[in-house]
């Protein structure tokens, strides 16, 4: 398990060699670019890469094609034809049958609160572990990491039971509490490694100025790790948004469910024709898509943050 802890310390190093080699680059870049920009082979490679991209996108494309067809047109012309007219009843059907605005609000509410609470909890724990160097921190971090890897099935029945006992069954708060802790388990692991490399000189300076631990946390540590917290928040939001298993079990009525559950539970519905299925899938992915477009850069940074090395 020692490898887990070597990762964080090494996390600080890649930033250092990068600029030095980067500064040498521009001199050669132009000459090299010219050399690279010759030959026909590159066009074949580009075509192949685009073909892969099209394969990845094709399910989305045929979904969009069919979300706006009438059932009659779908059965007549098949899934590949361009819709002749804009048929909006599929979208309307899905919208009203699932009470979509309610589901959207549920998803936003749950995910946003988990993002905020989860980040806050991660920061507090990571402050104790990374800056405070609590005794046994290696074990604590390992424990958090293991907790994050546990299958949710190994927690669900007791959680389900507990929620009923404290009156939180079918409540969004049960989901919020559970995911705050599960996400914070990962967040603590990640943030503790970041704070483990926090410059001690800054802490000393603050202490000389008479700042207490609480003030140091909010006036020295917090502003510096703010970007990392932002990435964590976005990630917690998306992960919670996409969660399926625990919400499926815990949220039993229509008015509490999230978008993925609403869509999945419509599936068994015999009344669902192909255009409605497609319209439903389209409407359900739009929020995620918008989020993706806004935070594309941050997301890429966040995905790789887990792989700090």
């Amino acid at each position: 398990m020692s490898t887990v802890t070597t990762t964080p310390t090494a996390g600080g190093t890649p930033a250092e060699p990068a600029p030095s080699s980067g500064s040498r680059r521009p001199l050669r870049a132009t000459r090299q670019d010219e050399r690279y920009r010759r030959g026909v082979g590159r066009w074949f490679v580009l075509a192949a890469a685009i073909l892969v991209a099209l394969l990845m996108l094709s399910p989305f494309v045929i979904m969009v094609l069919n979300a706006f067809k009438s059932p009659a047109e779908y059965s007549q012309d098949g899934p590949l034809s361009i819709p002749k007219e804009l048929y909006l009843e599929g979208v309307q059907n899905f919208w009203t049958r699932t009470n979509f605005p309610q589901k959207l609000w549920n998803s936003v509410f749950i995910s946003a609160l988990v993002a905020v609470f989860g980040t806050l909890l991660s920061l507090l724990s990571a402050y104790a572990i990374g800056v405070g160097r609590i005794k046994g921190r290696l074990w604590i971090v390992t424990l958090f990491l293991v907790a994050n890897m546990l299958p949710q099935e190994a927690l669900i029945y007791p959680l389900f039971d507990m929620a009923q006992k404290v009156g939180l069954s079918n409540s969004q708060w049960s989901i919020i509490i559970i995911f705050t802790v599960i996400q914070a388990a990962f967040g603590t692991y990640l943030l503790a490694s970041v704070l483990g490399t926090f410059p001690p000189a800054l802490l000393e300076a603050a202490q000389l100025d008479g700042a207490g631990r609480w003030r140091i946390l909010w006036q020295v540590v917090y502003p510096i790790v703010k970007p990392t917290l932002g990435v964590l928040m976005i990630f917690f939001f998306i992960w919670t948004w996409n969660e399926f298993f625990i919400p499926l079990v815990m949220l039993t009525t229509n008015d509490t469910q999230t978008i993925p559950i609403a869509l999945a539970s419509l599936q068994g519905d015999r009344m669902m024709d192909a255009p409605t299925t497609n319209a439903g899938a389209l409407v359900s992915l739009i929020p995620a898509l918008i989020f993706f477009l806004i935070f594309q850069r941050t997301l890429t940074r966040g995905v790789t943050a887990g792989a700090v090395k």
């Binding site: 398990m1 887990v4 070597t6 310390t9 990068a18 080699s21 680059r25 690279y36 890469a49 685009i50 990845m56 996108l57 098949g78 590949l80 909890l121 507090l124 724990s125 104790a128 405070g132 160097r133 609590i134 005794k135 424990l143 890897m149 546990l150 299958p151 949710q152 099935e153 190994a154 029945y157 007791p158 507990m162 509490i177 559970i178 599960i182 914070a184 603590t188 802490l203 202490q207 000389l208 631990r213 946390l217 996409n242 399926f244 298993f245 079990v249 978008i259 993925p260 999945a264 599936q267 024709d273 299925t277 359900s284 995620a288 989020f291 993706f292 890429t300 995905v303 790789t304 792989a307």
Partner: protein, 329 residues
């Protein structure tokens, strides 16, 4: 690591103690410097115990009983549930299918992702600019941002025997009886695997591309001047340089593959005839469908054990590889 551990707690409070709180010094010296930080760990620790620790212990406890759940009486069964599992063919099928999930979520995406990332970064990125590479990368990553239930519903329609896009297309090009992809025992598992590959590919591509940014470009330049072709450079530089990230991808994806639930629930519900059954769905089935809570808890406990063992093995392999590399230098 060790130097840092020494400097922070001692050098940290040290000067402050002498400068401003000279009177408090003797009393403070006896207390370890980390002690005042303990309250900051408290909320996390309490939350962890309530939401993860206690439920997990309770799950193991439940697995020792025959219990129909809720107010029904709990009958002590000892390790009986575990013994029953050993003779349960569905249980074994579910773990066999886990291997298929690992192929679809770890092996295939990692191999494909490795090639895609290398092509994007060190071939297309240089020839057509980083924007082209970034755009293609985003395209590959798109399925990853979808709620897995949405992806499942979409594919469920595409693969539907009667009205699904795939079979409509196949009939259009003259194939009379296209397969019932998700409804046939022989095609259901491969179909699910294809969907999972589609979902997973973007993750290794993004990780590997950022790993490649870390590699010193001079390595490639030197190799190129020595006359090494793209394939040689890929094998001699790219693969060894991004080994740490490969371990991370392998670890996280293997754990995810063992835990997979959403796609199975939405696509096949384990069917037909258990051909796509996975451990997590099997435990869900026992909990909430068959009302065999103790049995479901036993399945979940075994799954947890398997995940921890697999994770420890991967981490051990990683540290061994790291050690070897350091000794090599």
């Amino acid at each position: 690591m060790t130097t840092r551990t020494d400097t922070v707690p001692e050098a940290g409070p040290g000067p402050a103690r002498e400068a401003s709180r000279a009177t408090a010094a003797p009393r403070r010296r006896r207390r370890p410097a980390w002690l005042p930080y303990l309250p900051y760990l408290l909320p996390g620790a309490v939350a962890f115990v309530v939401v993860i620790g206690y439920p997990f212990v309770m799950n193991v406890y439940y697995s020792l009983f025959k219990w129909r759940g809720g107010m029904a009486p709990m009958r002590w069964y000892g390790l009986g549930n575990y013994a029953d599992l050993m003779n349960d063919s569905a249980f074994w099928t579910s773990f066999q299918n886990s291997i298929a999930m690992i192929l679809a979520m770890v092996v295939a995406p990692t191999l494909i992702g490795l090639v895609l990332a290398a092509v994007l970064f060190d071939y297309l990125g240089r020839r057509f600019g980083p924007r082209v590479a970034a755009f293609l990368r985003a395209t590959y990553y798109l399925p990853q941002i979808l709620p897995v239930a949405v992806a499942g519903v979409l594919w469920n329609w595409i693969l539907n025997a009667q009205t699904g896009a795939l079979n409509v297309i196949l009939r259009g090009i003259g194939i009379e009886n296209p397969p019932n992809w998700l409804g046939d025992t022989t095609t259901a598992l491969p179909s699910v695997m294809l969907v999972l590959i589609w979902v997973q590919i973007g993750y290794p591509v993004v990780i590997f591309m950022s790993a490649l940014q870390r590699v010193d470009p001079e390595l490639y330049e030197a190799a190129e001047l020595d006359g090494a072709g793209w394939w040689r450079r890929f094998r001699a530089i790219t693969i060894p340089q991004i080994r740490p990230e490969t371990f991370v991808v392998t670890l996280t994806c293997t754990v995810a593959a063992l835990k997979v639930f959403g796609p199975i629930y939405v696509l096949t519900r384990g069917g037909p005839e258990s051909s796509t059954l996975v451990p997590s769905y099997y435990s869900y089935l026992n909990f909430f469908d068959k009302s065999k809570v103790g049995y479901g808890a036993a399945v979940a406990t075994v799954l947890t054990l398997v995940i921890i063992v697999v994770a420890v093995v991967i981490l051990a392999l990683q540290s061994r590889a790291e050690r070897r590399e350091q000794e090599g230098r």
